[in-house]
Symmetry: C2
């Protein structure tokens, strides 16, 4: 390798942006012998043959008889276009894994890239080890082909069934952030990451290049991105393949990478160029790591990026349809390259000659349907060094349980319920801090620049924010930045989520904190992760991975200062639509419940856990022992806030879910009891939202009997909910007594409000709830308050108006309103009076 | 200006990344006289004074008495950090508007930048014109201050109440895409677009820089981005402010811009640098436009971008708290810069001296509380040239109705219902094509590389895809690319949506087409647009803008080939949570309904219209006249597919919503009638989803009587729904007879399925629906099929199994399955037999 010309910053010989011609590359050198080139040619052909076979064949897998339409699947599906470039990269990286005994995974970013990685997994032998029915013989190959994009089979992405995959790529844009997530705290790992030039146009991908500003070369591994300028998307050229060479080079230097170009379509020279370039990149990576590790000084080098420009559908026919249409090097090769093989003899003949050009007889049939053992041995790594078998991509295998302190040690003292104001979130931050301290290489906290704002700043005592950018003098004055930090903050929810997913998928633990409204930014990412988890449950060899924990705060009811744009609690609706096997939603009502729920979530596997909790100081309701019982049950009657024993049939159920909603509901109970001391009120609180749904729909769901034992068969239920009210209606659909349930929650209406005013407008404040209860209790022949509620209602309304007036006069201050409307004696007295 | 040194590509004198020091700028020159500098200083101070006043004061607006805490709002809210740089840019651009009579708008990207634009609008006089109560005197100023971030007042973003704003910026990331959307087809417009360095970290913003590849300098205006390296986000440094000068310069050259730096904190030299730089940029823009327009040759120049590096909280105190903490040039100046003015005498004194340093006595009090007329006249443009008064930012004013062909002319012929297969989408594409032809500067079609795949390719006959990248020879072979195109395709849903929003907000029309599953990518953008519309309804001077039309196709039921990752119909849940005043959801069951619905949506204003329709060939149900009636009603009984007259009480209601769901429901009716010819089945179809909800909740909702007249008081309802079933439960909550309604829809479970198998797994196929109906009709004492359903049920199950077997054997082919299970005679016969 010493002959290589490393002077990458020298002017390029050619600035052509054509994918055609002999190889043009930044790194010079011819590391391969003629014999080696021959072997790489064979391996390339074998893999390309498998890729076409997957797309077309359900029989005759070795083309031992002349191809005819009975051999084809009835409906042709799958994508060829990006396969050649991906295969080319994969197999050339294998050379370096063998040469340098590298620990590497392959992340396939381009859309529908599965034929590339499936064919490589099959050629490496991993596929048949994992799926013995797809054996390495003609019949096994037939099954391997037929199952692809076929009913009951496997998809056209690198789905969870794909050995070596931790990135499905169905939705594009997350390959780089997943890759970085996987290499954090994996100092010896290289994530070879193929980035499609289509994918590269997405926002999430475009900003994720900046991940290098958060990668510490001492403690983290490396990502080697290969931007594949494949030229086309489904039906359009790609932007990055159609800008000048100079712009492209500048772009990646601007992103902080040293770009190494490999461009052309001449296979032989491309072999040399790719081999030399990848080797140079690996040596660069090792040099940077060595420098940082030997000096102990973390720095941010210009990490290498390979820019591979090759024709889409490379090695396929350049033109089809009697020379009228471009195929290779055009978007027509994106999906099924020859679409009409069933009916068009030209297509059939062209496909046959094309497939035969990959020499299946010599490469497969001559060895009983498998690649020769010699070729495999010489070109592929062995065992877990195969990228298709690297345990990192089945991260559950590597998972180590978190070391957890006892969350009870962080309990808030609650002598009298609903009397003391404490910051539940700030308190929970101490638990997080100690978890981070106990797990210095196995847990990270993620968030888009909101960790401090979300009152989690306590974690900085033990874990700074990772920062590999420049430092200024003022950073020492509360900046909490360090190259060896553990908190990951970038103003991109996409990147934070992608990092966390990559970190979890490779077997580590973490938590994302975000403002509630802007978590919608990553709706689709969370959807995709849910789908990955759901599908993984069906894949026997996949081990459970740590749950994706999402902590939502800066909640809708306290977004008065940010206003209407920051008011959207609807992420729960998105999550609730996902498979019940993988989603969990918790709304802890107070600080001790938040501790209990967080502990539970961080210990769990294979879920997406969503925790919703406000970050401001709040009244505390339950002592720790009661909080644990309540969170374990997920839903229950709170005797301390009920005016009748749980066994008694109440006049009214006051239910709540969410910390602020609970506080208002309890205050409403208090107001009602002021006016009607003998009213039998049952207080029900929900922590685990899926308790509301039938146990037939979700494993956490209550049975009908359990549900009715809480919500009664016929009594009015006033349910104060954190989010949009319809979610409760949807979850309780089919339950008894829903016709008597009124759900109050957030509805869209823009204004700059005090928290109180916002609640009043939505009917979720204590006064509105109490008035609603009076109205319901005054209805019908059996209405227990019939004719008695008028004066109380009027007093409540006046008090509500008085509070509104105060807020409008003096501005927005929830603490002021809270302390003013919630007499501190009430909780204690009441608790003693009603406790059963 | 001729003295300016235009050699921007020359080496910079300094590569410092500090925001401090005398101005360092790419463009040299001192275009301002000493007197002018003095005026800009005054104007800068006046605006900064107003910004602080908004944050702090509820009285004593001119500091005519010594500042004390009674003058403060009780709760201090608002953000100062980005205001100085934004104000600086705004006022220096005003000079060029006046000098060159420019048509310009200002887009404020940084978070919470409202004080900057509000203060400028006030100084330009626009604010008091629009809101006379905020008059230009002491009392008006007091109101102007107090209302900011105050209950009942205005928010801290550039909300719809802000004159001159078409970009709120509550959620970050869309300033550049909004700006480009606004200048498309606005050849004389310049969108001066301030981009925050926090915002710049988001994915959507990072990729939106590439918008220049879609901007035609002949027919479009220009965006002048000013990247504001303000240095800090809420609590972190920003990436772009902490990379090397060279990287930053490369990044923007790579994005295709010529970067012009203006860096420093020395106000006087910064005035000169900013004035010279902005002027150079304007002249560059005009030169490029002139070159393209005079030659008729569109090209993509290196458009200018200004990189303004100034300290956060610029002109504030550098240190506070007895010199212990940095304020200016640090994240502490992000929000309320001095937080403890109520209690901390140091803060109070510091604030007073700081505010007085802006000379309110001289600049305001001396003129009766207003800026001097002379200063305004010399520095501000007049009338609509003021950026705060530009009608483009109140685009409804400029809105011209679309020229629409008669959609009836595109009707699909339906002689016999449910007999002919046609591509509803491909047919609708002809309507779209002709709309594009009739509105060559007023309508654009947007989509992320899926327009052709979505069967809308017909539009290319009259409107190519905009492409300003390089061209290759193969592009002439079906590329459909042109600089003067009208179809906007980039593989970024965020950018497409942002462009469309900008285009609509400035008063033009458009439609976004997308795969259904990946529309979740822009959940949060659509949320924000809904909120903008909702709030705009309350702003009397805002004119209605054309609706945001979103066409969703490649729907969940036909995502067999792409698999599980592409199966998510839940966008409707997100939309349904938004304000009923602004959201509409349509699921046209066939081609004529799709035409009618599309026509309706494109003519509407101030809505977000979501249309869900599959792109594959489908059975056609309604002739055009019936389709119009059906779509106008939005929901109704289909007598042709019912076996009893509408006035008759049926045994069973078979309801459906969505094209594929409707087809299966009709087929189930057919199967049921095969087995039970005398069964009284009512067929109900829903086009307008909000018909299901109560009219008290949504203006389209049915009254109880209307609802019951369709869904009966007590008969079984089998509802086949396009999306997740719970959405129907949520919408029909509280309706009569919901306990007898079974909703079938999509549920998450990953597999590679035929469409039939997917439907079977969800119970949405014809067989499952028919069996479900038999089960329901066999229940209870009044079950009309009690004891009679067994044999039919068994036959249906066997037929279902036979179809499953075929699919598994031969692969995935919906058309095959469809034509096989839907006898062509059935529709006709049946229609004649049952038509009433």
């Amino acid at each position: 390798m010493s002959e290589q010309d490393m002077s990458s910053s020298q002017p390029q010989e050619s600035k052509s942006i054509s994918p055609y011609g002999p190889a043009r590359s930044t790194v010079k050198g011819e590391p391969l012998t003629k014999e080696e080139i021959q072997k790489y040619n064979d391996f390339f052909k074998a893999s390309l043959y498998l890729s076409l076979g997957m797309i077309y064949l359900r029989s005759n897998p070795l083309l031992t008889t002349p191809l005819d339409k009975s051999h084809f699947k009835a409906r042709l599906l799958g994508h060829f276009g990006s396969a050649p470039g991906q295969i080319f990269t994969y197999m050339h990286f294998n050379r370096l894994i063998k040469k340098y005994d590298l620990d590497a995974i392959f992340i396939s970013g381009p859309g529908h890239g599965a034929p590339a990685v499936l064919s490589q997994a099959y050629l490496e032998g991993t596929y048949s080890e994992v799926y013995p029915e797809c054996s390495e013989d003609e019949e096994g190959l037939r099954k391997f082909f037929k199952q692809f994009s076929f009913p009951g089979g496997i998809g056209s992405h690198a789905t969870p069934e794909t050995p070596g995959s931790l990135h499905e790529g169905g939705e594009l844009g997350y390959s780089i952030s997943h890759a970085f997530g996987a290499v954090f705290d994996n100092p010896d790992l290289i994530a070879v990451t193929m980035v499609g030039d289509g994918e590269a146009e997405t926002g999430p991908l475009a900003t994720s290049w900046h991940s290098t500003k958060f990668l510490n070369p001492i403690t983290d591994g490396a990502v080697l991105p290969i931007l594949h300028l494949n030229g086309y998307k489904i039906n359009n050229p790609t932007i990055l393949a159609r800008i000048s060479h100079g712009e492209l080079e500048s772009l990646f230097k601007g992103y902080g990478y040293q770009p190494y170009f490999v461009e052309g379509d001449d296979v032989e020279t491309m072999h040399q160029a790719m081999a030399a370039t990848l080797e140079h990149c690996v040596l660069e990576i090792r040099r940077f790591q060595q420098q940082a590790r030997s000096t102990g000084k973390a720095f941010r080098p210009m990490w290498p990026v390979v820019i591979l420009r090759s024709p889409k559908g490379w090695t396929g026919p350049r033109k089809i349809n009697e020379g009228k249409n471009y195929l290779e090097g055009y978007w027509r090769s994106h999906q099924v390259p020859l679409t009409d093989v069933h009916n068009n003899p030209e297509h059939l003949a062209l496909l046959e000659s094309w497939m035969k050009s990959y020499e299946p007889e010599r490469l497969f049939a001559a060895n009983g349907g498998r690649i020769s053992a010699e070729l495999r041995q010489e070109l592929c790594p062995a065992g877990n060094r195969r990228m298709s078998a690297n345990p990192v991509a089945n991260g559950g295998i590597l998972q180590k349980p978190l070391r957890m302190p006892d969350f009870r040690d962080y309990a808030l003292k609650v002598d009298h319920p609903a009397v003391t104001l404490e910051g539940s979130m700030a308190n929970m931050a101490k638990l997080l801090r100690d978890i981070m301290s106990l797990n210095p290489t196995n847990f990270r906290l993620f968030g888009p620049d909101e960790t401090e704002s979300n009152k989690l700043g306590n974690v900085y005592e033990v874990a700074k924010k990772v920062w590999m950018g420049e430092y200024f003098e003022e950073d020492a004055n509360g900046g909490n930045l360090a190259p060896e930090g553990r908190v990951m903050e970038m103003l991109s929810e996409h990147t934070c989520e992608g990092w966390l997913e990559g970190y979890l998928l490779s077997g580590r633990h973490g938590l994302l904190n975000s403002y509630e409204p802007f978590i919608h930014v990553i709706d689709s990412m969370v959807n995709q992760h849910c789908k990955w988890l759901e599908k993984s449950l069906e894949v026997s060899w996949r081990h459970p991975i740590p749950s994706l924990n999402i902590l939502l705060t800066a909640v809708v009811w306290r977004q008065d200062h940010n206003g209407f744009t920051h008011q959207d609690p609807g992420f729960l609706d998105v999550v609730a639509n996902k498979s019940p096997e993988v989603v969990r939603i918790y709304l802890p009502p107070d600080g001790n419940c938040l501790l209990s729920v967080t502990d539970h979530c961080l210990r769990s596997s294979n879920y997406v856990n969503v925790i919703v909790a406000d970050k401001q100081p709040h009244l505390q309701f339950l002592p720790m022992d009661q909080a644990i019982v309540h969170c374990t049950k997920g839903i229950g009657i709170w005797p301390s806030f009920s005016s009748c024993p749980p066994s008694t049939s109440p006049d009214l159920v006051m239910a709540s879910c969410g910390d602020i909603s609970t506080q208002e509901s309890l205050a409403a109970i208090s107001l009602l009891l002021d006016h009607f001391p003998t009213l039998k009120i049952r207080c029900v609180n929900v922590v685990d939202l899926f308790k509301l749904i039938s146990h037939e729909e979700h494993p956490h769901g209550l049975t009908s009997t359990e549900y009715t034992s809480l919500f009664t068969e016929d009594k009015p239920v006033i349910f104060n909910f954190h989010s949009y009210p319809w979610l409760v209606y949807r979850l309780t659909h089919g339950r008894r007594n829903v016709e008597n349930m009124v759900v109050k929650g957030y509805r869209e209406k823009g204004n700059i409000d005090t928290p109180l005013e916002l609640a009043i407008r939505n009917g979720t404040d204590r006064f509105s709830l109490a008035m609603e209860a009076i109205d319901r209790l005054s209805e019908g022949p059996g209405g227990v308050l019939k004719g008695k509620g008028g004066m109380a209602r009027e007093e409540l309304r006046n008090e509500q108006l008085r509070c509104q007036g105060l807020a409008f006069e003096f501005g927005i201050d929830p603490a002021e309103i809270t302390s003013w409307t919630w007499p501190r004696e009430r909780g204690g007295l009441w608790s003693e009076r009603h406790h059963v």
